[in-house]
Symmetry: C3
Subunit: 310 residues, 3 copies
């Protein structure tokens, strides 16, 4: 990783394979910390992390918060509701305000694609993209790769199917980029209205038919948002479920099942699939804390400090 790409994590495109592996190796060490009774290291003691969330989120925001606390940082969490954001302050002004606290990092979730990149231009802090519109969600992709690497040893040559609403999914976009970087073959599968034109340019193949799903080593199912029905992308959630829902019956033995959460039970996944031993959903969440600790550490702590923690 260059000095430049090291300061921020905006997109998986900022990371080459060696950069991803370095974060995953570090995350491995932090996963061990999170398994101890005392889940804390002093790496970022006395440093300030700002979590700036313009969208509702349980898992991403609490995962970042916990990652920062387990590194002993002080965390300031700002949510759109109940903040100056409601008073119509521009993102730029909010970021400049928060930057005056001299935070080591700003973690930003925004409904607008490109928001994290803009923020990086407005602050001397390191910026971590925690999801920007339909664009990217790089720490999700990193935790997904981390989870798979633990299970499969590596991703080289693995076949990963991403099933569902690819069009609106930052998770899909970051996932395709990261899985490809790590040597996997990626297929996206969903209703033609929900597969973006030209997605193959990212190096994946696409299909509207779920018939070939048995060839996948990994089935990665996306969240199907209720609002897509209102917007007429799919005729009904029921029809969507009939055609694309992944159930235990649709999985072959040995396939791994992933989902970024939160799950719509009975829509994109059946309950028997969610609760099957093939599902890695809990492992993904657990990986999230370790991977976010690793990202914060990589961006904020220098190489010398590394030896002390590892």
């Amino acid at each position: 990783m260059s000095v430049h790409s090291r300061r921020h994590l905006i997109s998986i495109e900022d990371l080459d394979r060696a950069g991803i592996e370095r974060i995953l190796d570090r995350a491995q060490g932090f996963a061990e910390v999170s398994g101890r009774e005392i889940k804390k290291v002093p790496a970022l003691r006395g440093r300030t992390i700002v979590n700036l969330f313009y969208e509702a989120s349980t898992r991403t925001s609490s995962s970042f918060e916990l990652a920062a606390k387990r590194l002993s940082a002080d965390v300031v969490s700002i949510r759109a509701a109940g903040s100056s954001v409601d008073k119509g302050e521009s993102l730029k002004d909010t970021v400049q305000t928060l930057s005056a606290y001299d935070p080591a990092a700003i973690v930003i979730r925004s409904p607008h694609a490109g928001a994290a990149q803009l923020v990086a231009g407005w602050t001397p802090a390191s910026v971590i993209n925690a999801g920007d519109g339909k664009h990217e969600h790089p720490t999700q992709a990193l935790l997904d790769v981390f989870t798979l690497r633990r299970r499969l040893g590596g991703l080289d040559g693995a076949s990963i199917w991403i099933v569902g609403d690819v069009l609106h999914s930052r998770v899909a976009r970051s996932g395709i980029l990261a899985f490809k970087r790590m040597g996997a073959q990626v297929t996206v599968c969903g209703p033609p209205t929900l597969i973006p034109r030209g997605i193959e340019a990212l190096g994946c193949t696409s299909t509207a038919s779920i018939e070939g799903l048995h060839e996948a080593d990994v089935v990665y199912v996306l969240r199907m948002q209720h609002e897509r029905m209102r917007e007429c992308f799919v005729p009904s959630l029921r029809e969507y479920a009939t055609r694309y829902q992944v159930s235990a019956a649709r999985l072959r033995p040995g396939q791994l099942l992933m989902h970024p959460g939160p799950v719509n039970r009975g829509v994109e996944l059946s309950s028997d699939a969610i609760d099957s031993p093939q599902a890695l959903i809990g492992e993904q969440v657990k990986a999230g804390v370790a991977v976010r600790m690793a990202v914060l550490y990589e961006l904020l702590a220098g190489a010398p400090a590394l030896a002390a923690v590892a």
Copy 2:
């Protein structure tokens, strides 16, 4: 307490008298810590406590949060508003997600009776019921017993009247069970529409008349919620207040007055009663932090660690 009953606190029924007394004795020590300038012990340093609140709450959520912080734990607070809960994620999925953080305990407040018991089946963490619908609110009962034990020495033979909307009150249900366990006589008093049929099975007596109130050693007044009027349980708050409001004039000297808060001034309690020296409302809140520290400690820290803190 058995190993099993030790892992969770769902209901006062999980605790025998010795179990309650053990928590109260421990709380006594923590009350002393909360009275010091440095209100902190390292008992749960580096451990994670999740507060999962599906209902608005100031005092219970902040009391648990402070209890955890004074034990040096890291706290993650999740509220229904602004979280995945809004995206319709099921309680089960939310709990499984949060469990991936390997929390030592999940503190759950839910509008649904039985929620805490369900949660205990879905997580390896210790579960503490912070109020589940109309069912139970065991830490409230424990702090009430703690407060009374300090004032009266013990509850054996004491007469406790619980006045108001018993039907909708988890505080009443947990209170009756705990007061009985500790040897008190309990009478519930309120409009017949707000006294559940068969309440006597819990070992208390019931009456619609507040005339006999002078015989009580302790008058425990419940919150009268405005919405009950809309639901036609009472004709009007004014009429309710006329018949059942506890005022300074209704109290005889020496009686103790309690209320779980928040108070509706001028409805179930008059201002002169709230502000009288007979009212223990502030002591109850103060006891809340110490008792919740004790519950967290009992569930999460082993007996050996005990000696170090006590």
Copy 3:
């Protein structure tokens, strides 16, 4: 400062010039701490600070939160939304409840003038006014003085113009008092409907004409709230902007520009003014943490402890 005035910070009127200077000197030391990598001192370890905010706020609430955390205190933040406040509990009862936690300080933001003074009568904790209706916002004034003292050396003889909606501004009121105490000349400028009658009693002059603005050393622009238009104080924001907006063109070289935030870009300030090197807005926010650390320290830590930190 007398023992009495030391316990609370309700109004700038509580402070004489020596008291202000003492806080600023202390803040100078804490600004140095906030510039370090480890932005933390153990001064208030194990003590509890309650932030009680009845109005939306990003910067003031996060600034106080961070100030308390950098002093190693435990912070409990209560916001009106999602709290008992929604259940209609009176301010008095809420304060008495929170006081049972034995907090070292309660920081209160309220839409009602006089709220902080009332709170001080209901709690043994130190009370810090973080804004009470149109009355005062003393820590804002202190951070403004701190910022100016750093730039100008001192305020004696400086000319400060406060421009905009003075009528509804607690910032203006506290600012006038503090700037005067420190020896500055203050002029308030705005539409006659937004200048309170008799404001000159505070020792300032007033004008409806912005023509004389070039004589100011410091131009302090107030937030123009959208709702004032609905309330007919100004015909339209556009007309307001035409007459009173401070743009880069309106500033003469060497003048300093301040604003309490959040800014309405294009209303009271033009973008070129906000982003000009004359603007101290970021410095004000940065000063906020240091000044609030100093206020907490002055109120809560004794003179002996002082030497240890300084």
